[in-house]
Symmetry: C2
Subunit: 162 residues, 2 copies
């Protein structure tokens, strides 16, 4: 087991999902892949590519943006992360293994994000599969509005993320 692979020792399930996927697809187990995934799973927030790039730059590894983009694609395939578009033209990602499936409420005023889960969504998916004769693999649900923050309820002007 290489140095990079050892980094994931705190996340054995993740390690195996990634490794098995690469075996199955006859892909190379490069250290970059483990470094990037480790960095993602250390985070507890939604993140964009640039943030990830900067976090990795702060370590002793120098990993290019191109490599990050390539491997996010790989992690998406494995279901280890999910990709979001929270309204802006910016992709945000989030680790997704071992975390309860959830959706997002986004405050239009302060851009804060609240996660929630509602079983009725699963029912909607089931109904749709029957009615339209389709297969539903995944979904994204975003609710937009004003959060409970007093200033937001009063309608203080919106600011952009970043």
């Amino acid at each position: 087991m290489t140095e990079a692979q050892k980094l994931l020792k705190d996340f054995p399930d993740i390690f195996h999902i990634l490794t098995n996927h690469m075996d199955a697809k006859k892909m190379r187990k490069t250290s970059e892949r483990y470094y990037i995934l480790n960095e993602i799973y250390k985070l507890n927030t939604h993140f964009d590519v640039d943030t990830l790039f900067k976090n990795l730059s702060d370590t002793s590894y120098r990993i290019s943006r191109a490599t990050i983009y390539n491997n996010l694609e790989l992690f998406l395939e494995c279901g280890l992360i999910v990709k979001h578009h929270f309204g802006q033209n910016l992709s945000l990602y989030e680790k997704s293994f071992g975390y309860k499936q959830h959706d997002h409420f986004i405050c239009n005023q302060c851009q804060s994000i609240i996660e929630f889960c509602d079983p009725r969504l699963h029912q909607i998916k089931k109904s749709l599969e029957e009615i339209l004769n389709v297969t539903v693999d995944s979904h994204s649900l975003y609710l937009y509005g004003k959060c409970s923050n007093e200033k937001c309820q009063k309608g203080i002007p919106q600011r952009k993320i970043k």
Copy 2:
């Protein structure tokens, strides 16, 4: 009433919503605004900025992309259109007045879009407002999967929109 304004004679409600909004905000009633909105309401599909630009270029009006972007923002404010991010880094818009609120199923294989409506979503919104003490103004729900097309169910590789 100008030539441009007359174009919207088939959509009197739309005309008034836009005109009232501009009056209220002391904005100018430029012909471009009516031309663009007319073009949008003639469409019965989701559209991107480039398509709209090309459609407008085919008429005798030459309207720049910058102006289109500016005014889509205005129409969004009025609630005359809605903006979607169907997974790709491309914004798609859709006229929204007088059309039943609906959501979208997107086929990962052939990229076809099916619209649907489920009342349970409204219940989810209501619950969330109570539980989180927030105000929900709008939402977006996308379900992804494979449509009933035989080829899609077999998993023919995905192609990009456009």
